[in-house]
């Protein structure tokens, strides 16, 4: 009986980011294998953009300049759309036994979520790049410097992170993956009540404050200012503030949910 402890040794302590990199690798494989979701994340925003520029575009702005107006909004729509699948991935983990296996191992509790978040960031940045490439092909003519382009990708990445963390928390809260997927509609709807597709000033007066101060408007205006040299105002600060606030709330809420759901399925 004393030989027991000699034979079976405790698990070694992991290197600094071993768990995180393993979970990121796992989530990447998930992303790549879920071909349909990946296609949707890239194809749907592209189709929306073509629809807005070719079908609605001339009605909204007969001069043909609508493409320059709408692309920043489409970029955001695309970022949010791809992030909502994180809720499904997280919920699937939580409702199968696999989370209990991870939780009974000496791992930082958030590492598995980090994997989902980083994979979502990569997926959405890829989709964003495709959307911008297609936009350039159909006549989008930004006048941004390389530094401004970098800033655009920075703010888009921050927005993706915010929305992904929010959806990771929603995935923790949802009782089933199906329920989690239902919340995706919020992000398909919110951009329409913002300056993404039409200027806020053209909306009914009672709607304008909501449209003006909801997070998508300042993020859109920041991207627009960087790409098209429209007035920046305080959009950048509002955008960063919104993103940081969403991340903070989601992380705190998510950590609480993660603890509360322990061993209860």
């Amino acid at each position: 009986m004393t030989a027991t402890t000699a034979l079976a040794t405790p698990r070694p302590r992991l290197g600094a980011l071993t768990a995180e990199s393993t979970f990121i690798g796992r989530s990447f494989i998930h992303s790549v294998r879920d071909v349909e979701a990946l296609m949707m994340a890239v194809v749907l925003p592209t189709m929306l953009m073509l629809m807005f520029t070719w079908i609605f575009g001339n009605a909204i702005d007969p001069s043909g300049g609508y493409v320059d107006y709408v692309v920043p909004g489409i970029i955001l729509l695309c970022a949010g759309f791809g992030a909502s699948s994180t809720a499904i991935s997280v919920s699937r983990d939580m409702t199968t036994g696999i989370i209990d296996r991870f939780r009974t191992m000496p791992l930082r509790s958030g590492a598995v979520l980090t994997g989902h978040v980083i994979a979502s960031l990569a997926r959405n940045l890829l989709a964003t790049t495709v959307v911008i490439a297609v936009a350039l092909l159909v006549g989008f003519r930004p006048d941004a410097t390389p530094l401004e382009w970098l800033a655009v990708f920075g703010i888009v990445a921050l927005w993706i992170l915010a929305i992904t963390y929010l959806f990771a928390a929603i995935g923790l809260a949802a009782s089933t993956p199906e329920a989690a997927s239902g919340f995706g509609f919020i992000l398909l709807f919110l951009p329409y009540v913002s300056s993404a597709f039409v200027p806020v000033e053209t909306m009914p007066e009672w709607l304008q404050p909501i449209a003006e101060y909801q997070p998508i408007t300042p993020v859109t205006e920041t991207i627009r200012a960087l790409l098209m040299d429209t007035p920046m105002g305080d959009s950048a600060w509002l955008a960063v503030g919104w993103c940081v606030a969403i991340i903070a709330v989601s992380v705190v809420w998510g950590a609480w949910l993660f603890r509360r759901k322990a061993g209860r399925r």
Binding site: T96, D100, R101, R264
Partner: protein, 310 residues
Amino acid sequence: MNLAIEARGLRKRFGRTDVLTGLDLAVPAGTVFALLGANGAGKTTTINILTTLVQPDAGTARVAGYDVVADAEEVKRRISLTGQSAAVDEVLTGTENLVMMGRLSGLDRRAARARAAELLDRFGLADAAGRKLGTYSGGMRRRLDLSLSLVVDVPVLFLDEPTTGLDTRSRQELWSVIRSLAETGTTVFLTTQYLEEADRLADRIAVLHAGRVAAEGTADELKARIGGDVVELRDADGRLLLERPTDGSVHGLRAAIDELDRSAAASAVGVQVSIRRPSLDDVFLAITAGGGSAPTAADAASAPELIESK
């Protein structure tokens, strides 16, 4: 004695349900220990507390020498859990699942790959190594699930109803794996609702009833608690008609036979009487019927008739 698991007075309540009402356990290191109980008896809650997933409302538990609440991280370094629902990644292949678990257990990439191949081979899954788990059958999934717990040799292995839902063949394969693990010195703590499983695998058995351990011992000790043999009446096809437990005395045996003799079934053509040792079923039914108190031989002799309709 070197104890791998030690629990004292564990209590847990979910909402208005008292799941555990003062559970005590002592599992010697290097043994196979079965926690036997009906559905809802608190088996999974016990495992969840011992594996740090759930905190007890009262009481203490130590696993591999560490407190499950105060030293949860140290406990986690020394245990593996194969839970009730398959803890596998459906999207990854068999190899990828095992390599991931190896990396998370501190093996480097090369060692993780080697270990994955070794385990797939050992569990008869080598042919399915490159297939996604989504395409595995229930038995294959369960075997991979168990192999994920064995990526590194930990001192204490927890298996929550490991063979539920498996066919007879897969069940026996799993039993032989668990037995060979125990031979290498791993402490195995398993829950089961199958008495046969506890009888075949476990060195010691605890019967969980009404949130506490109602009886504990080796299979033979538990069977001895019920006292004497059981007299059975079977029809010409060997189907069990009636059975009566006895208290082991000559008088008790005669009384049981007389009672069966008076029953209508006894006079049918081809009916045969036989005497057998009590099974773990008898023990389990006697204990769980008695509201949690351990039965005495006298209780057993007057226990309600136990008719099985298999």
